[in-house]
Subunit: 206 residues, 2 copies
């Protein structure tokens, strides 16, 4: 984003911060595959990120080990910002993962790079940690990122499961990382899958 | 919300938490007065809450005194959840403040009351603290809640200022609490007002 003329009289650091905050507003226009609970429309990535932050805050007690919930929340608030440039890749889409990863890396550098350097480095490191999914905080963040669409799919009666004709094996394969962050939440997810198969929204394992 | 049959086999505490998380999804359907930056539509309260959490995280250094940014973020994530029952009241609307406050109190009790008691009390206390706007954390949270719509109005060329034919005095009156949380951000807001008057989006003081 080029510098906004009207911001120019502000201190340089504050200009950069405002430009970042106005640019990330575009995440409100990135549309995901999941529907919101009333089924009226698909979810956008900004409101999804808000929902995940609340998921993490409410379900923190089920993390597999000690986590810093404020770091998990920060990760979830920024984890999908790269979709402004790179778009959302539905879980069941065929886009080559390495191509998408490269696009997202470039997007992270551009978007976090709008900020003053210290903040750019802080957010970039947090985003990289989340993507790598190796630390307890990142594992728990990834777990709730996989859990939320499962609950949305069930409440709308199919959602992306019926859109993509997903079977239980495929779904378990795409979401089993929930177990890395929280065995309790994975057990809950498995219960939801079983119920979804019974209801005909998720195909039985082939 | 009545208990969902499909959640019944889960532990009671987890059922309550999932019911809360599914119920608050409805915040995605509460529409505010402000437009998003591309001007294509009005903002919903869920994505607004996400945006405010990022505003607070990015601008924390400008708080008037020491704050705990993780508490401010938590407040902002839940501060408008009551709008699910009580609706959004635009800043320039004529709804009697005491009527709205009562509706929001009842809404807070119902919505946070979906959670296990310890979490219900935690969120209710956080929400009450935010509403009272007396602590440094709540003052800073309120400041960014007032600041964000100012930037959105400017970037879309008027927004709620032109919708409600607002003049600079009225706008300053409705947003001056920014100064209680951050004199630096208030100075920035005053600059934006001056530019908006120059552009004809905000009426000059009468």
């Amino acid at each position: 984003m080029e510098s906004e003329r009207w911001l120019e009289p502000l201190p340089a650091r504050l200009q950069q911060q405002f430009q970042f905050l106005l640019e990330v507003d575009r995440l409100k226009t990135v549309i995901r595959g999941s529907r919101i609970t009333d089924g009226s429309r698909k979810e956008n990535t900004a409101e999804h990120s808000w929902h995940l932050a609340l998921f993490a805050s409410t379900l923190a007690e089920y993390a597999i080990g000690p986590i810093q919930i404020d770091r998990v929340v920060q990760m979830l608030l920024i984890h999908d910002i790269v979709e402004i440039d790179a778009g959302d890749t539905p879980l069941f889409d065929d886009t080559t993962p390495t191509t998408q990863a490269k696009l997202e890396q470039v997007a992270a550098e551009r978007l976090f790079g709008l900020l003053p350097q210290d903040q750019a480095e802080y957010f970039q490191a947090l985003w990289t940690e989340f993507e790598a999914a190796q630390t307890p905080d990142a594992k728990f963040g990834k777990a709730v990122d996989r859990l939320q669409p499962i609950l949305l799919n069930h409440i709308v009666g199919g959602g992306t499961w019926t859109d993509y004709e997903v079977d239980e094996d495929k779904e378990r394969q795409m979401t089993h990382r929930i177990a890395d962050g929280s065995p309790t939440l994975w057990a809950a997810a498995e219960h939801v899958f079983a119920d979804a198969v019974r209801c005909g929204w998720l195909l039985p394992a082939r």
